[in-house]
């Protein structure tokens, strides 16, 4: 088997020089966007005075004033709805939903309006808004604070769904999301908000949306994930490497629309594919990718695609959430199955 080549573009390595955390990168991107574009406004519950429950909007109110950093009353549907109104009228709202578990009250606004304004008016109006929400498990938070329900949004036509997995990507992707003229759901994997630091240059450069990032190159197997699970996926890749198996590791990043070009190219090269998601198993993004891979790369596949996922239950309350979360060991085991070694 060939030697793994660690890609070192500065953009793709989770283990570069430590400097800022992912949540700090979010703040940095917000500050940058607000500085360069006076129509960018941040809003949500507890985002102003408190700086957000995760401090993602820390100090923004002090810097930009209460006209651009708005503490709203407690109503997610309203937060989404006013963002739509603002966005159709020259503003670029960046709304925070405090936890993704509370986004469902805003579902009607997202599905029926944000994602449709351009189409419904045949381009007369459009909706350049970003909804940010921390998501995912592993921090021991109360019920509803730990789910990964990104698939529900990836199935909504007209909505982009973007998930960073490192400080660098959080910065670059959030800037691009804010500058994008269409609605973007920007999901922040809160488990890795602070576990990795990375050197982030505040250059104002966005990273491309709708594009996968290849974090490691390898010839033997393709590992695909996004968000916090990138972490376990990279760990698994390292463990595999120690056993001489070199993985191509892909961070999907934009889960809708999917960049299948990168994924299919990799799987056609390696012939094997494991997809890792934290979300419930049935009907998740891993299924979508698995289906597409099977449809577009079947002749190249040396064994069926494997999915490593959460379970078809809600995330257990914190005491038992480790029973739910996929681990690097689970991923390695799936790789072994794919490679035919067990």
């Amino acid at each position: 088997m060939s030697v793994t080549r660690a890609v070192n573009s500065g953009l793709s390595d989770i283990n570069t020089v430590h400097e800022i955390t992912m949540v700090e990168a979010v703040t940095l991107a917000l500050r940058r966007a607000m500085t360069e574009d006076p129509t960018v406004v941040v809003l949500g519950e507890d985002v102003a005075t408190n700086g957000g429950v995760f401090r993602a909007t820390e100090n923004l109110k002090t810097e930009f004033g209460f006209k651009r950093v708005l503490d709203t009353p407690l109503a997610e549907s309203m937060i989404a709805g006013i963002s739509i109104g603002m966005a159709t009228h020259g503003m670029r709202p960046v709304a925070e939903i405090q936890f993704m578990g509370f986004i469902f009250a805003a579902m009607e606004q997202i599905v029926c309006h944000a994602a449709r304004m351009r189409n419904r008016t045949r381009g007369r109006l459009h909706c350049p808004l970003v909804i940010r929400a921390p998501f995912g498990g592993g921090i021991g938070a109360p019920e509803h604070h730990s789910e990964s329900t990104e698939a529900l949004f990836a199935h909504i036509p007209g909505l982009r769904v973007v998930i960073p997995s490192s400080p660098v990507r959080a910065y670059g992707l959030l800037l691009s999301a804010i500058r994008n003229p269409d609605p973007v759901l920007f999901l922040e994997p809160k488990r890795i908000y602070r576990i990795v630091r990375q050197r982030v240059v505040d250059s104002g450069k966005g990273l491309p949306l709708d594009t996968c990032f290849t974090l490691r190159q390898g010839d033997d197997i393709t590992l695909i994930s996004w968000g916090a699970m990138m972490h376990e996926t990279l760990q698994a890749a390292t463990q595999l490497q120690q056993r001489g198996v070199n993985a191509d590791v892909i961070d999907v990043a934009t889960i809708s629309p999917l960049d299948m070009t990168t994924i299919v190219r990799s799987v056609r090269h390696t012939g094997r594919c494991v997809i890792v998601q934290e979300a419930a198993r049935s009907g998740g993004i891993a299924s979508e990718i698995s289906a597409r891979v099977a449809e577009e790369a079947m002749p190249w596949l040396q064994s069926p695609v494997q999915r490593v996922t959460g379970f078809d239950t809600p995330m257990p309350y914190p005491r038992h959430e480790h029973y739910y979360l996929p681990t690097a060991a689970d991923i390695v085991r799936a790789c072994e199955r794919t490679l035919g070694v067990i």
Binding site: V41, K67, G81, G85, M86, R118, H126, P181, M260
Partner: protein, 355 residues
């Protein structure tokens, strides 16, 4: 809060000229004729499901005349009259209800207005958002949003008003209280004595007006808009009227309401009422009426002709408005449409229709 006037006034409203009334009357007659025509088109298969505004012309016209061009209008689906006064052509209104998104390419003052909103009450928070944008630019404009009586039960209504009251947004909400939400009469919708008093929960002003009196609608809306433009906060206006038609052409109101109630409502209907007022003040002659009807007939007929001659969009066109830039999956799906439909039904790669 005022209480609904039950009698029809026979004196001219203060500060309203006969000319103004004549003009309002002309608009109302036009909309009624238009509405009737669209229902007829539906019956003959040339129109899709359509929500008639029969009986609600005073509300729509009163609002339309009070709005200034640089205000923003956030309609619901029964706002034909206001949309027309905002500059949307009758043809475009028909196009929307004929099932064609291009009807939403609004013109005139409406070019910044929001499209018709179908999910009940969701437009309320959009209006609050628009009002935030207007306020942030200190443009001294206002945003006006409409909704039905049934809409007041849905959470969005309260959420939007609460915010408007709190942030003192330049927003006016007019409830078209036509007393029915499809088959549900108002007294089965809420125990609140008036809808205007729902404003209390938002700490803002609420007014109940007679929605069959176009001058009263105009004056209440005008006052509220002026107040909003001056930064003096939002107003909730309950315009009491009656839905004389079925809910939509897909509905049959005889299943759930008494003809007697409807007949009574016809006694107070806004067009006839305004006509009587004009007559009572020698403000309207049979010749004027005939000339108006003739002009209205022509306008409506021309609009219908234009509507019926709009070609369909190419088969791949609906795939092009999802995002500002074309995405890979959608580009692929466009190519599938080229396989599914003959060449003349799809546009060329520049989006220009070939046939």
């Amino acid at each position: 809060m005022t209480q609904l006037k039950k009698q029809v006034a026979s004196t001219l409203p203060a500060n309203i000229s006969l000319d103004w009334l004549r003009s309002a009357y002309s608009h109302m007659v036009l909309i009624r004729a238009f509405d009737k025509k669209v229902v007829a088109l539906q019956r003959t298969g040339q129109m899709r499901t359509y929500p008639s505004c029969l009986g609600q012309e005073a509300i729509g016209v009163g609002i339309g005349l009070a709005l200034q061009d640089n205000d923003v209008f956030v309609p619901y689906y029964r706002d034909q009259a206001t949309l027309f006064l905002r500059g949307v052509s009758l043809t475009q209104i028909m196009q929307v209800w004929g099932g064609d998104e291009r009807g939403h390419l609004f013109e005139g003052a409406a070019r910044r207005d929001l499209p018709l909103c179908i999910p009940i009450a969701t437009q309320m928070t959009h209006a609050a958002g628009v009002a935030i944008a207007l306020k942030s630019r200190a443009e001294h404009q206002a945003c006006l949003v409409t909704c039905g009586d049934g809409a007041t039960s849905k959470g969005d209504f309260s959420e939007a008003l609460n915010l408007a009251g709190l942030w003192q947004l330049p927003m006016v909400c007019v409830i078209n209280n036509n007393q029915w939400a499809i088959s549900v009469p108002l007294h089965k919708q809420t125990a609140c004595q008036t809808l205007a008093q729902k404003a209390v929960a938002a700490g803002m002003e609420g007014v109940q007006i007679d929605g069959n009196d176009v001058a009263e609608v105009y004056q209440a809306v005008d006052r509220a808009l002026t107040k909003a433009r001056q930064g003096k906060g939002p107003t909730l206006i309950e315009a009491v009227s009656y839905r004389l038609s079925d809910h939509t052409t897909a509905d049959d109101a005889t299943r759930y309401r008494d003809l007697e109630q409807v007949n009574n409502a016809w006694e107070r209907e806004p067009v006839k009422r305004l006509q009587s007022l004009l007559h009572a003040h020698q403000g309207w002659s049979p010749e004027q009426e005939n000339a108006l009807l003739e002009s209205v007939r022509k306008q409506v007929d021309d609009a219908v002709t234009a509507y019926l001659s709009i070609p369909p969009q190419p088969a791949d066109e609906f795939l092009k408005y999802q995002f500002a830039e074309m995405t890979t999956p959608l580009a692929l799906q466009i190519s599938w449409q080229h396989e599914r439909f003959p060449e003349h039904e799809t546009s060329d790669s520049n989006g220009v229709q070939k046939s």
